[in-house]
């Protein structure tokens, strides 16, 4: 029935990679926060959503997509910093469940705040003028913006890797995720590190929201769905592992995309089946050791 030509296959694959890029960014933020703070951030989808709204808002305000790409994640990161300082920090030491549940409640609040500020309908978002149109990749026309997405994600991942591997702050973060006690003993204010890492993780979530906004409808509920998918990726890659987040993000994006081609009705279910399988066969995921980064 369906003629799967090589060009269709390639196009579908590219689509999966673009989808995976968004997943990867989200998972990186989640993994950072989990690896460092052992906090499962149930509000991650909400931060993604806030990022998308702020991205559209700042674009309308400044007229520049590039400016909004910088400002919006910073604002989202700031909200994350506030949240960590006043909501999450008091809960450390009480076990893994409490911060998780707090972020669950936080997501509810974020959604309603966005509704109150921006309205219930959401905001119209369109592809920035300079990135419109499609590119002929040889096997078909692929949206330019999605190529940009893949590129932008690659840049962010590279920047993050450089930061973690080549700078002192990165060193502290990596050490802290491996053994926070020792780092504390060595005189580092670990609370401050955690604070900043939470902010960084949420800022990345916001960034993925800004990047994703032109490709989908921007409404207050957009984070609910995305969160479950982000969890799938984080688990498959290994909670706390950055390379895991990237690899798994791309993998899940491609799995979803290919299943959508062959058995579209089962695309959603397939990624959760994948998640369950990984958890049962190799619970730490591809690259994970709880607390390992990089």
């Amino acid at each position: 029935m369906l003629d799967i030509t090589p060009s269709l296959f390639m196009l579908q694959l590219m689509t999966g990679i673009a989808l995976g890029a968004v997943y990867a960014l989200l998972a990186i933020g989640l993994s950072l926060i989990f690896g460092m703070l052992t906090v499962v951030n149930f509000a991650h989808g909400a931060f993604f959503m806030v990022g998308a709204f702020l991205g559209v808002y700042f674009l309308a305000l400044t007229g520049s997509f590039w400016l909004s790409l910088v400002i919006a994640p910073l604002v989202v990161g700031a909200i994350g910093l506030l949240a960590e300082r006043f909501l999450v920090r008091p809960l450390y030491g009480r076990g893994i469940d409490y911060p998780l549940l707090l972020t669950f409640g936080l997501s509810y609040v974020l959604i309603d705040v966005v509704r109150a500020v921006f309205g219930i309908e959401g905001l119209p978002s369109s592809t920035p003028a300079s990135l419109r149109g499609a590119v002929d990749l040889g096997f078909g026309h692929f949206p330019l913006y999605r190529l940009f997405l893949i590129g932008a994600t690659a840049v962010v991942v590279l920047a993050l890797w450089l930061f973690l591997e080549k700078t002192r702050y990165g060193l502290i973060i990596r050490a802290g995720s491996r053994d926070s006690e020792i780092v504390r003993v060595l005189g580092v204010d670990i609370a401050k590190v955690w604070w900043l890492v939470f902010g960084l993780g949420t800022a990345i979530a916001g960034l993925s929201g800004v990047l994703a906004a032109p490709t989908r409808a921007v409404n207050p509920e957009m984070g609910i769905h995305v969160l479950a998918e982000a969890f799938v990726v984080t688990v498959v890659g290994g909670m706390g592992s950055l390379p895991g987040a990237v690899v798994a993000g791309l993998l899940v994006g491609v799995v979803f995309s290919m299943t959508a081609l062959l058995a579209p009705a089962y695309a959603e279910m397939s990624i959760f089946v994948l998640m369950a399988l990984v958890l049962l066969v190799r619970p730490q995921g591809f690259f994970g050791k709880a607390g390992a980064l990089g």
Binding site: G105, L106, A228, M269, F272, Q284
Partner: protein, 325 residues
């Protein structure tokens, strides 16, 4: 007869006292359907808490058992014409089986991975039921779950009468609560609590921990399945979101709100959550944010939950003996 002895008397017969209170409960609520929802979700939360509060495993997929119970009861009635009483047993049986399936797979993992596995399996079950449109109605839900009228010795049991519906459901909830209480008071109950406290030591003491975990998981699934079966009869429909992870998240919230370390905490939590949500919905369109705020406040300031904090205060004042809550 002072306050001290009254409190301890109530505590000693905790189930009986609770059930007595629940008898007059509908009079305190603005409408019976809300009171019935509280009964049902109270039972759901108590069942969930067997795994969460008592054994220390945070399951994020317990909505599966609520949903399976609801759907199988509904399917038995709508597609096979089974009478509502045996249909309830069908629902409970199905949720026991589901509990066995999920539990068997999930028990091998621990901590956050356990939560993630239950979330994933829960979503798989959700999509499976969603797609089985012919049986479940898919997105439209299963409709027509109507309990037949029973005429027993001149007594008319008609679910269309809200108070009758409440007391019939109360009967089932009463049985289940009594059962749970017995289980927790038994040696087995001590085993699962010791698993929560220190799993390695329990193993060292020679207990088959894996088997105990699986058993409590299955029992928990059955209780939640019963709550689901009752919900189907209450609403006459089974909505598909009964199986979604947001529903699982909601029962976790309820258990925490009330206090997961106690028998009644979850029940109280369910009641407060639903009542508050009802009021908030009538007062503001931002009820979701209000619920979120309430929830965060409770986690930050009342980590023992409402009921748990109350019990703690009573114990601090010496009004309550150590193990009664």
């Amino acid at each position: 007869m002072n306050l001290h002895s009254v409190v301890n008397g109530i505590a000693r017969h905790r189930v009986a006292s609770a059930l007595l209170f629940l008898l007059i409960f509908p009079l305190l609520m603005p409408y019976e359907a809300l009171a019935i929802n509280i009964l049902i979700y109270g039972l759901f939360a108590v069942g969930f808490n067997l795994v969460f509060g008592y054994t220390g495993m945070l399951s994020f997929g317990h909505a599966s058992f609520l949903g399976v119970g609801s759907y199988l009861t509904g399917i038995a009635m709508v597609h096979f014409g089974v009478h509502w009483i045996p249909a309830i047993f069908v629902g409970v049986l199905a949720s026991l089986v589901a509990g066995l399936f999920v539990g068997y797979l999930a028990i091998r993992t621990r901590g956050i991975y356990f939560s993630m596995v239950t979330l994933a399996l829960g979503q798989v079950i959700y999509y499976a039921f969603y797609k089985a449109e012919r049986w479940t109605g898919g997105e439209n839900g299963l409709r027509g779950v109507n309990a037949e009228v029973i005429d027993l010795f001149g007594l008319r049991i008609d679910f269309l009468n809200p108070l009758t519906k409440y007391y019939i459901i109360w009967l089932f909830v009463a049985l289940a609560l009594w059962l749970v209480s017995r289980i927790l008071a038994s040696p087995f109950g001590s085993v699962i609590e010791s698993i929560r406290e220190n799993e390695k030591r329990t193993v060292a003491c020679g207990y088959d921990v894996a088997r105990a975990k699986l058993l409590i998981f299955v029992i928990s699934a059955g209780i939640c399945g019963l709550a689901g079966a009752l919900r189907a009869l209450h609403l006459s429909v089974v909505p598909v979101d009964s199986l979604h992870y947001l529903q699982s998240g909601q029962v976790v919230m309820m258990a925490l709100l009330g206090g997961m370390g106690s028998f009644f905490g979850p029940f109280v939590g369910a009641g407060v959550f639903l009542y508050f949500e009802d009021i908030a919905t009538n007062v503001t369109k931002y009820w979701m944010g209000a619920v979120g705020l309430l929830f965060m406040a409770l986690i930050l300031f009342f980590p023992r939950g409402i009921w748990g904090s109350l019990m703690y205060q009573l114990k601090q004042r010496g009004m309550l003996q150590g193990d009664r809550e």
